[in-house]
Symmetry: C2
Subunit: 427 residues, 2 copies
């Protein structure tokens, strides 16, 4: 707080009273608005409704009946489609079920139970009292952190800078500690801060020296084609790993959750030859095949990679007015103040707001009481522990622009109240 | 072999020569027939083609948009439908993805990583050098055994009698050995021998004393409504476990793999309150939801349990002529001989044949050379180890009746050749 003269204090009190009056007026409206999760809006989902009438034909190109058993690792047409889209070798892709999160969890579970490349299973470290660790660039995706927590993998937060994780910190940690077995990366339009990894960062991740032989990058390219304001390119991490002599270092995940239907899309993992062979072996005990009809449905809907990109341009048209609303409101109301800073995403699903330290929980709580649900404060940090109590993730996709306007007005009101309360020491 | 007079031996040799001549004639036909896996035929799959045009409406009864994120444990309509069909409490059901095998594996993987009810994780025993064990009624389903093998769970074969596992053996083993943590059961129309568990066996499984506090029954009711010749009822194992004071003893698995489309159906697990709460907790780290659109598709297709039963009557009409062909051929050609015995299934997908000891591998190999693929000999035993080398699983569902007739003629020819070879000591 420091020194504050009486006049300044009085001004702030008056301002706070005024804000409280506005807040009470809002409360009386009994609103129910939600900016908590990265859920597509119904209008976004409508863009994929043709899927509901597919497939028209249930035979694959080679004559296989997609209705029956078989094809563990996905239909060739689907591997081809996503290989084309992402610049991946179809032979190094496994098409899974409806959820890339599920594939990430299962990959982590496999590493925990079986290890990789002859190395010790990761769960064994835990049972012996020295659990393995993952680096978690922060702020990050809460569900990644929950996977680690569930599997008893210790998390070490590392700063996420404008072009990717702070590589000086990362390189030092992985070089020194052989218990650090992996790092979570959302390399494009990251959740929540919209960071896009630079080529230099990708190369460093692929080439850096690691104490652990079985160090793995969990490359969750969830927003790989989800550009809103600007198309951003991304260096191919698998190629880069191969080039650097670490062909098995990265697992590359992708899904159509935010391209078609979140619960009824298609997910994939791609990796080096040995990892893919290992995953297929484990999968062959786990299942006979994933849903080939749904894979075919997606292939028939998109036909080629170019159509996915066109589809995502329509998606961007839906999302842009919403991101405009959020970013303009923040700029108009909080720009130039010390109350908050925020990200300027080029794509993805989120705007990341940093309030003054110590205010995030208060803001989320105030917003909730006024009918606006936000992602829980702290959720973007491992163990929900945002030491500065500052980061809040805003998810603008689901509400309408009109709802967003109301929700943002309330959010900004709450940021102001919490900020002034703190300044006055009344909070 | 024992004693054999010259005349008898000469007769057998002449007969064998005659059989070889027939075999060579068959080989020249270059046939490619397959009785290896329990795959539905295209005509069976056609019965569900209407699914390809569903859902007509993507909102749930309560207004939820099934296209979007949410509902971890399955849509209420789907729980209701299968609850009705199987006499299960919808509140104790989790609807999963497309594969009950996947749910079984994931349940085993969860038990391995996390344990249950506060007991030690099963993988920890393995890392400590004393792996946990499962009882495997034999002959049984190869994919169950592969799950155990993959997870390092030791398998102990126990005899499968006409009304279920040999309960005297089972009860003794589980009472004495606390490392025995579970048993695989296919309680109706078992794979491969078509055994249906009696009420008495279900009660004993539910009530028996087990040394392991965390003993679990893996109740794979894969053929729960798959009657062909006769409707067989099955005592509700979950109710029985509850009644006997062991409410968390059984996991009940079911799927529509052999009701609608094998790779694009809906699977479920049901269990006691605590197990379901545990599984949901683990699942909540693993995924956001399974494919609700596909769940809805199935609900709209069937509407109610009675329609599933009617659907299965049509399925039985497809399968009955095929089972008739297999069983009649066996009876006509091998009935009253010492060359083979076989099961008399009332439903399910298989006929289990026991050749003379020491002949199964030879029969499968002879059949293969003549263009008929059978399930590998030994596959119906843990570690593929059929000590008697006697059991062969026949899967009649996929070929046409005409193809089956040819395939059975060849199979029987091979059984005869192998049997006589053995008698002559030439094999």
């Amino acid at each position: 707080m420091g020194q504050m003269n009486d006049e300044k204090q009085m001004q702030l009190k008056v301002r706070l009273e005024d804000l409280w009056a506005k807040y009470q007026a809002v409360q009386e409206q009994n609103l129910a608005l939600n900016m908590a999760r990265g859920k597509p809006s119904p209008r976004q989902l409508d863009l994929s409704n043709e899927l509901l009438n597919l497939p028209k034909e249930y035979h694959l190109e080679d004559g296989t009946d997609a209705r029956n058993y078989g094809i563990l690792d996905g239909i060739p047409e689907c591997k081809e489609l996503f290989g084309q889209l992402l610049g991946l070798n179809p032979g190094n892709i496994i098409i899974g079920g409806n959820s890339s999160l599920n594939m990430m969890f299962d990959t982590l579970a496999s590493l925990s139970l079986f290890g990789t490349g002859g190395c010790k299973p990761w769960a064994q470290y835990r049972f012996e009292g020295t659990p393995v660790k993952f680096l978690c660039p922060v702020p990050g995706y809460d569900r990644h952190f929950i996977c680690c927590e569930e599997l008893g993998i210790e998390m070490i937060p590392v700063p996420l800078l404008q072009d990717g994780p702070d590589m000086e910190v990362v390189k030092k940690l992985v070089r020194e500690d052989s218990l650090i077995k992996g790092i979570w990366c959302v390399p494009l339009h990251s959740n929540p801060s919209g960071v896009c990894y630079s080529d230099e960062v990708v190369t460093q991740l692929a080439s850096m020296e690691t104490a652990a032989e079985d160090f793995r990058i969990f490359w969750d390219n969830a927003y790989g084609v989800h550009h809103i304001y600007e198309e951003v390119s991304l260096k191919n991490v698998l190629e880069e790993c191969e080039k650097c002599g670490n062909p098995e270092r990265a697992y590359y995940f992708f899904s159509t959750a935010k391209i078609t239907f979140p619960g009824a899309g298609v997910a994939l993992v791609a990796s080096g030859n040995q990892n893919i062979a290992e995953l297929k072996k484990h999968m062959s005990a786990q299942t006979i095949s994933h849903d080939k009809i749904n894979q075919l449905r997606h292939v028939q809907f998109f036909q080629n990679a170019e159509n996915i990109r066109l589809h995502m341009k329509k998606m961007a048209q839906e999302l842009r007015p919403k991101f405009d609303m959020v970013l303009n409101k923040l700029e108009e109301e909080l720009g130039g103040t010390d109350l908050a800073t925020w990200s300027q995403p080029k794509g993805g699903y989120f705007v990341s707001v940093d309030t003054k330290p110590g205010c995030a929980k208060r803001v989320v709580s105030l917003a909730k009481e006024a009918g606006v649900v936000l992602t829980g404060a702290g959720a973007t940090y491992p163990y929900k522990n945002d030491e500065k109590d500052s980061n809040i993730r805003i998810a603008p996709s689901y509400p309408t622009v009109e709802e967003l306007e109301k929700a943002m007005d309330i959010f900004i009101l709450c940021v102001k109240i919490a900020g002034i309360e703190q300044e006055l020491g009344t909070c």
